[in-house]
Structure formats: structure tokens, C-alpha cells
């Protein structure tokens, strides 16, 4: 017989109650770990899609404003620029208005130079350059609509008063940029728009620097070049561009974090209630312990050890489950399941988050147990015995 055994036996006094309390803590700690893992996963997604040498140039007022096409040539002339391409947002929909996805007109001749890291199949790229109405499509969109290479599709224009019939000549490989995107030859759009007044501008310009150390200088040069012009621009790295793009998502993440904190608060209250209930039921036993000579300190510590143990086990189960699940997802994300998992494959729980989850659980247990344990421990012997008889 020892204090440890006493605590252990008391934990299994009501096995179901202990189990459910432990599971509620485990579940909340799982959520806490998931929430704490979100920002790192987001960073990883941005790091994956964002190159360190690619620069986005867009209108200072926002992405919906167009830039003069002449800017493409001016940017191409800046020292340190290895290649330039441009995006023209077509905004086409497939079949029904609900089928919206990003589709851009660009220059097929400069795809490889600007996005060499995308590792597009050279034969598909060659067809893309050769065929006027060819397009390359991201894997997610191919799967979503059940498209096949060689299929002809028609995109209905929503910004431009034309429809484009495109031939799918290849796919943009998984893990390279946005898996939803569709690229087609901008000149095909220009031709379609000839009878409608033509197409003069570009939505944004993509620049690839010849070396990472030239990126800052190029961005500065671009910004200076078009200062006080008809369309002032903002040049930023691809990473920064995507981070800005995900700005609203960050607010959403903050909201999720706040929900995580509320979950922890709710669990504290649940655990405190369970702890208080358990201690209230055991006031007669506390009276006996006190009459036997147990002081406040050992009683307080024994009661705290109970709530702390439940919380610690719950924390380990919750954080351990999160660790196991995210590790499995991360491993699967590096294999053929990456298409299926999407961003989930980027969730990777760090040991710090694991430790934080377990610490939160322990603190929850101690806070939840302290007040009832303190009240129980400082109960007068005679008062407690009166409740007993």
C-alpha cells in the first residue's frame, strides 16, 4: 500500500466516469494539437508552392486591376531577370456557374523558363506550344470534372463575352503550384476577342530571377520603373504573394485558434465539475483520513494527483493520437496518396506542439482539481464527520 496505489484505486472507483473524463480531455487536446499545427502546415503549403526566385508583379490597387501589356517587355529588360510570363484571368466556367476554377491565359513559350520546378512533361509542353487552343490542367480540376488528356472542353466566359473551346494536351504535375489551375495560350483569347475590341492588358506578370540574391533588387527596380505611371505596381516574392492571398484564411485560422482556447476552457469546467462531484462524494472518506491523522497537505496532494493523472493520461492520449494521425497523413502525403489528401498531407505535428498539448492537459487537470481538492483538504474533521453521520 502506498499513496500511488491509493490514488490509483480511487481513479478506478467509477471506471466509466474516469474513462469519459479522460476521453473528453483527450479529444480536446487532440483538437488543441490540430489547431496548433495549422499555422505550421499553412507555412509549409506556402513554402511548397512558393519559389524563392519567382516574383509576382501586379497592380498596386489589387489583382482585379489590369496592367498594360507593354509592362511585360519592360520587366523582361531589367538586369537579373531570367524569364517573364504573364497571367490573364479568363474567369471561364465549365458547364454550370457552380463550376468555377482559376483559368489563365499565358505565354506557352515562357512556361518552362518561369516554372522549371513544375516539371511539366516536355512532350505535353511541346504540344501546348504547338496547338493554338491547347491547355494544361491541374490534377485536382482534371479529377473534379473527370477530364482526360485529349478531351475538348468549352469554357464559358464570365469576364469576356466569348467562349473558348480548349484541347487538353497535358496536366500540371501534382505538388507543383495550384492543382486547380488551367493554363491556355493567351493569343487564343486575343484572337477570340478581336471582334470585341481586342485584349490589351495582362492581369499580372510572373518574373523569375536568375539568382535568389537578385530578387530584392529586381523587385525594387520593378516598383521604381512604374512609379508615377498610369498603373503603379507592387512586386513581391511568390511566397509573399501567396501569404497575402491567404490573408483572409489567416483570420479564419485565428478564429479556429480562439475556438481551440474556448474548447480548453470548456474542458476545464467539465473536468472541474467531475472532480468536484468526485470529491463531494468522498467527503466521508476525507473525514476518515483526517481523523486518522492525515493532514491537509497529503490529502490535497492525493486529490490533485488524481485529477492530474486523469488529465495527463488524457493529454498523452490526445496528443499521441494527433501525433500518430498527422505523422501517418504526412507519410501518406509523400506517397501516391498526396492527390487524395491535398493540404492534409502537409500537417506535421512538431514535438513542441506535442509537449504543449500535454502541458495544457496537465494544467487543465490541476486547475480543475485544485479548488475542490483544496476545499476537501481544509474541511474540519468534526464538520466532515458530522456530514458522515
Amino acid at each position: 500500500m502506498s499513496y500511488t496505489r491509493l490514488v490509483w484505486r480511487n481513479l478506478f472507483r467509477h471506471p466509466l466516469r474516469t474513462l469519459f473524463t479522460t476521453l473528453s480531455i483527450a479529444l480536446s487536446i487532440f483538437l488543441v494539437c490540430a489547431v496548433l499545427t495549422l499555422p505550421a502546415a499553412m507555412e509549409r503549403i506556402i513554402a511548397r508552392v512558393g519559389s524563392s526566385v519567382r516574383i509576382s508583379v501586379h497592380h498596386e490597387a489589387g489583382l482585379t486591376y489590369w496592367l498594360p501589356f507593354s509592362y511585360v517587355h519592360k520587366v523582361r529588360a531589367i538586369p537579373g531577370v531570367a524569364a517573364v510570363n504573364h497571367f490573364s484571368w479568363f474567369g471561364g466556367i465549365y458547364d454550370e456557374p457552380k463550376n468555377q476554377f482559376p483559368n489563365f491565359g499565358l505565354d506557352p513559350d515562357h512556361v518552362l523558363a518561369v516554372w522549371p520546378d513544375y516539371k511539366i512533361d516536355p512532350r505535353e509542353l511541346a504540344r501546348f506550344k504547338r496547338i493554338r487552343n491547347a491547355c494544361l490542367v491541374g490534377g485536382a480540376t482534371m479529377r473534379k470534372f473527370g477530364w482526360q488528356v485529349g478531351q475538348e472542353i468549352t469554357l464559358r466566359g464570365t469576364i469576356f463575352p466569348v467562349n473558348l473551346t480548349l484541347l487538353i494536351v497535358g496536366t500540371i504535375p501534382e505538388g507543383a503550384g495550384n492543382p486547380l489551375v488551367l493554363w491556355f495560350n493567351r493569343e487564343y483569347l486575343e484572337e477570340a476577342m478581336e471582334s470585341q475590341g481586342g485584349l490589351r492588358g495582362v492581369g499580372m506578370i510572373w518574373v523569375r530571377a536568375d539568382a535568389p540574391e537578385h530578387v530584392e533588387g529586381i523587385m525594387h527596380e520593378v516598383n521604381e520603373l512604374f512609379r508615377n505611371s498610369e498603373a503603379q505596381v507592387t512586386a513581391e516574392t511568390e511566397k509573399s504573394f501567396f501569404m497575402g492571398f491567404f490573408g483572409s484564411f489567416r483570420t479564419f485560422m485565428r478564429l479556429i485558434m480562439a475556438v481551440g482556447v474556448l474548447v480548453v476552457g470548456a474542458v476545464v469546467l467539465i473536468a472541474a465539475n467531475t472532480s468536484a462531484m468526485g470529491i463531494r462524494e468522498r467527503i466521508p472518506e476525507i473525514a476518515i483520513l483526517k481523523s486518522l491523522g492525515f493532514g491537509r497537505r497529503p490529502i490535497l496532494l492525493a486529490l490533485l494527483a488524481e485529477s492530474g493523472t486523469v488529465a495527463l493520461v488524457g493529454g498523452l492520449v490526445g496528443a499521441g493520437t494527433a501525433w500518430g494521425l498527422f505523422s501517418a497523413l504526412s507519410r501518406a502525403g509523400k506517397t501516391g496518396y498526396s492527390q487524395l489528401l491535398g493540404p492534409l498531407g502537409q500537417f506535421q505535428m512538431s514535438s513542441t506542439v506535442f509537449a504543449e498539448g500535454v502541458s495544457v492537459a496537465l494544467v487543465v487537470g490541476l486547475i480543475a482539481g485544485f479548488v475542490p481538492a483544496w476545499n476537501g483538504a481544509r474541511l474540519g474533521v468534526v464538520e466532515a464527520l458530522r456530514r458522515l453521520f
Partner: protein
Amino acid sequence: MLDGSGVAATAGAYLARPGRCHLQGNAGRGTAVGVPMIEVREVSRLYHRGVDLVHALERVSLGIPAGRFVALMGPSGSGKSTLLNLLAGLDRPDSGEVVVAGTRLSRLSEDELAAWRARHVGLVFQFFNLLPVLSAVENVELPLLLTKLPRADRRRRAETALSVVGLAARIHHRPAQLSGGEQQRVAIARAIVTDPDLIVADEPTGDLDAKSAVEVLTLLRELNRAFEKTVVMVTHDPRAERFVDTVIRLDKGVLANGGAPAGQSA
């Protein structure tokens, strides 16, 4: 069925063990039989019951020599349990002084009083009050957690105490698996396991059938005799008078016979 010879035999065997260091009797600690073990001096205790002030005890004085088996008797509300709580160091008087084995209890802090109880007092309650999650031997071992004894010694002493009360064969049973009389014997084993100077029992037979009540009274008497323990027992049970050395009667918070312990019996 317990009888005195069983306890005496077990006790005798235990006392004969070399290196024993407990259950040795008060006399072994230098408190001779006949010397006042408990002194109650002008003790009063008041309770608030709603707006009323109730005198549970009013200027009670008495002395109980070491090694005596004393019954506190009287009608409900006469102050028996209040007096017992004061003797056991569970409660404090509003005035007067309680001295047990030379210790003035009013001078001890709460924690000191708890430590003193652990060392000097064994408690037996009407409803046994065993921890249901622990086995008999673990319940008996509980007070020894407050000592510095190694785990193996604690277990050995608890098993010995259970042998003394005739429950050697049921040490691993949980309270729910024991009869009322057996549970009370476990409670008595728990009370004696620390080898206290004083055993206080509050209505120890109050929740037992006649046969078990006699067994428990017999056991308490034998512990008193074999180990020279001072036993103070609150009881309503008239059978108890046959077993005790002295009966102290209280009525409305005062000694019924005007102060001195009365009713020598057994």
C-alpha cells in the same frame, strides 16, 4: 467467533517475536496502569444550532487512568460524542483543557494535532468507515502511510493487526465482501496498527447484530487487557457494561454523578 483466548494467543505470539516495536502496550512506553492517561479539566463546548446556543458540554472534569476500558453512556444529546471528539483531538473545547498522555491538546496546531492523532489515537466508528476501494489489509495499512516505515514493514504490521482481530484469512477482501462484524474488526485492526496509547470508539456496536456486537466488545476488552490499551467507548448498548472497567454517564452536557467517574463494573 472471537474469544479472549484467541486474541491473547495471537498477541502473545506476536509479543514473543524478537525485535517487536509496536502493539506493546502503554506500560511499555512508561505510562503505568493506574496513572491518569486522560485529564479533562473544566471543559465546555458550545454549538450554534440556528439562532440557539447549545451547551454540548458544560464544565466537565474527569480523569481516566491508563489501561482502563471506559464506556461513556447517556441519552442522545448528552454530550458523549462531543467529549469523545475532544479526547481524540478531533475537536477543541471552547474553554477548559484536555490533556492526553501528558500532551495539552489545546496547544497544538491543526497539523500538529493531526500528527498527534496519527501517533497516539486509534479511532473506531459506528459505520466502520473503511475505504471501499481498498482491501482489508490496505485499509489497515492506511495510517502507517504517515510513518516512515518501509513498505514491507507496513504490510507485515497490517497483516499482524488483522491476525490479532481474527481476520488473517480475509486480508485481501474488500469491505463490501465482509460482514458488518468483520468490517468493524478491520476498523479495530486499523485503530491498533499504529500501536496508539488510546483507542476511542464511537458506538462501535451500533450497526451490528447481537452476535457481532458481543464479538467486537470482546475484542476491545481483550485488546485492553492483552496490550494494556486505554479504551474509551461511547455506547448506548447496555451489554457493554459487562465488558468495561468504568462507566461514565453524561446527561445534558454534565457528568450524571456530579464529576467523578462512576459505575465501576466488569
